[in-house]
């Protein structure tokens, strides 16, 4: 009986984790953008690291239900580390520096994860915000190492894997960011569709009940928080490596707040939310900044207010519609596969 249940659950998980046609389309489009629009690679690079950053927030907000206003702490740490490693000539190879920056951010994430286990949403907001502010203050107070308010200038990034040198048009940078994003996306996808990912959703739904079916809530939260910090660190390192610069701005509150907006635009609780959100956000920001260079924040704020007033559920409908369509396409292409019912309210 029990083994039948295990098999059934395993089969369901496998069905859920199957690649949908639209997912192929998404990544093919991303790959195509590498060759078709070479003139837009600079903004596409920004989209790529922002997407990774948003993916990182989605892991804790969308899957584990932890609200964070200080996710920039890990982003900033990764950013400064990557810049420092290159500037001091400690590790000249970008990929290795990238991984190391991510690991250090993960260590910080692990250390601070115990702070977010306790208390209500408000306490979590405050604590995450506080951590980011402290990180910013540290970077500000050790100008010998970080360059203080001027930022870390004169960083020279070595060629990737010793072969591909960054060029000024951002072609290599974009290919690099996209590759990193894709690899880490695959990893996140694997994690989210694993039993571990399922247990996270249970924790998000109701921690008390999750605990009563013997899911160790705190351990899961610590794990995913650390994991997400790793992603944020990598995203920050990508920023530093592609711009060859790091400044205090990476820790700013606006960065954490903008990130929330990115994720909300795309929708929380499914992996493409952060990616789609990043595309829309950057294009919108680019467009608005062209119209009113100084006051674009006003329109960003207006978008936030409107999203909440209209209701995120209703905004989520359009992505929901796309997903229903995707299910249909999947069924038509693979008639044998049983459709997985999407519970209402999931992913919003």
């Amino acid at each position: 009986m029990a083994s039948a249940l295990v098999a059934e659950v395993g089969r369901r998980l496998a069905t859920r984790a199957r690649w949908r046609p639209l997912e192929y389309a998404f990544w093919l489009a991303a790959l195509a953008s590498l060759f078709l629009v070479p003139g837009r690679h600079l903004i596409l690079t920004e989209i790529a690291w922002l997407a990774l950053f948003a993916l990182s927030l989605d892991l804790i907000l969308g899957y584990a239900g932890i609200i964070s206003l200080g996710h920039a702490a890990f982003f900033g740490l990764g950013s400064y580390l990557a810049a420092l490693l290159a500037k001091r000539g400690i590790i000249n190879e970008p990929v290795l520096a990238l991984v190391l920056s991510g690991v250090c951010a993960a260590v910080l994430g692990f250390a601070t994860s115990f702070l977010v286990l306790r208390g209500s949403d408000l306490t979590r907001l405050m604590v995450t915000l506080g951590v980011a502010l402290i990180m910013r203050e540290i970077a500000n107070q050790i100008p010998d190492i970080t360059g203080g308010a001027d930022g870390l200038q004169g960083v020279v990034i070595g060629p990737i894997l010793g072969v591909f040198q960054f060029d000024i048009f951002g072609h290599v940078a974009y290919a690099y960011c996209l590759a990193v994003l894709f690899v880490l996306f695959l990893l996140a996808r694997r994690v989210v569709y694993s039993p571990f990912g399922l247990s996270l959703r249970a924790v998000k739904g109701n921690p008390l009940r999750a605990a009563s079916i013997s899911i160790s809530v705190n351990a899961r939260l610590v794990a995913i928080y650390t994991f997400a910090a790793f992603y944020a660190g990598i995203a920050g390192a990508l920023l530093a490596q592609t711009t060859a610069f790091a400044s205090l701005d990476v820790f700013s509150f606006e960065r954490s707040a903008d990130l929330l907006l990115v994720l909300i635009i795309g929708g929380t609780g499914y992996l493409y939310g952060g990616l789609i959100g990043a595309v829309i956000f950057k294009l919108m920001q680019d467009w608005i900044a062209n119209l009113t260079p100084q006051y674009w924040q006003f329109w960003i704020g207006l978008v936030l207010v409107l999203i909440v007033l209209i209701g995120r559920d209703r905004i989520g409908l359009w992505t929901g519609g796309v997903r229903v369509l995707a299910e249909r396409v999947t069924r038509r292409l693979a008639p044998g596969a049983a459709p997985v019912p999407v519970p209402p309210g999931e992913g919003s």
Binding site: L69, D121, L122, V127, L129, I134, F253, E254, L302
Partner: protein
């Protein structure tokens, strides 16, 4: 030494006036209002326009700032905030951050991005010595005004009919409703008063805290610290928390300028870990 204590108290009192409205809204409606600082900024700029441009006396400017900000508060509460009460904390945070961004950009557009100063009467400038302690006149004024306000608030809260309704609503809004308290009206009034006080605080504090379009973002953290540390069930909690933070911040910046900002954030995180319900709050009954 005593001067630092004095400055710290003035600063703390100011923080209390700025933040007490936030603490009540949070306690009453469980509503996270990150845009509270925007009301303070509005008060500051209103006073600036009235005093510097229209030439009104300083105190008249303060009073008008209070009422105008309260009015803005009512309008916003009735038209916008009321839709967001039932939503999740995440929605509330997003919504109010959006408001902050809009306020910052709008003020930047209208008033310019540079830091501005309100002309205070010459009688209030300078400092004098009492028993060897240097006392700034303006800071003394702040302490007196804020002290009176605190007393008035405490009296209203503890011994008027409105105060008891408010306390009942904070303790348990559902039961209060059942007993015939119009919780929504109580809330609107409180929101207005809280916004007005924030506006007054912003106007009073422009001299000490500085006033520029990023004010709501810069001081948001301080308000939140006051509220989370002080708890939301009374006004004595936030009051004590404000004083503590004011003194710690001023002393920290004076004695260890290199670690000035750490002191305050570290205090916040440690307190949140040790006392998640707030420093002086009783354990929540709900």
């Amino acid at each position: 030494m005593l001067t630092i204590l004095f400055d710290g108290i003035a600063y703390g009192m100011l923080l209390f006036v700025l933040a007490c409205g936030l603490s009540v809204t949070l306690g009453l409606m469980n509503f996270v209002n990150l845009a509270h600082g925007a009301f303070a900024m509005a008060g500051g700029y209103i006073t600036l326009i009235l005093v510097n441009r229209a030439g009104l006396p300083f105190f008249a400017g303060l009073a008008i700032a209070f009422f105008v900000t309260a009015l803005i508060g009512v309008v916003f509460e009735r038209t916008l905030y009321v839709h967001v009460y039932g939503k999740s904390h995440l929605d509330q945070v997003l919504f109010t951050i959006g408001l902050v961004f809009m306020a910052v950009a709008a003020v930047d557009y209208v008033m310019g991005s540079q830091q501005v100063f309100i002309q205070i009467p010459s009688a209030l400038q300078g400092r004098f010595e009492i028993f060897g302690v240097g006392v700034g006149r303006y800071r003394l004024l702040i302490i007196v005004v804020c002290g009176l306000l605190t007393l008035a608030l405490q009296l209203i809260l503890s011994s008027t009919r409105f105060g008891s309704r408010l306390r009942a609503s904070v303790d348990d809004a559902r039961v209060a409703r059942g007993l015939g308290v119009n919780v929504n009206a109580v809330f609107t009034l409180t929101f207005a008063a809280g916004s007005g006080l924030a506006g007054l605080g912003g106007a009073l504090g422009a001299e000490i805290l500085g006033l520029d379009p990023t004010f709501p973002l810069k001081y948001m953290v301080y308000f939140l610290i006051v509220v989370t540390v002080g708890g939301t069930s009374s006004i004595t909690g936030p009051f004590a928390a404000s004083l503590l933070i004011g003194i710690a911040d001023v002393a920290g910046k004076y004695y260890v300028p290199k670690f000035g900002a750490f002191v305050i954030y570290t205090i916040m995180i440690v307190l949140l870990i040790l006392r998640p319900q707030g420093l002086f709050a009783r354990a929540a009954g709900r």
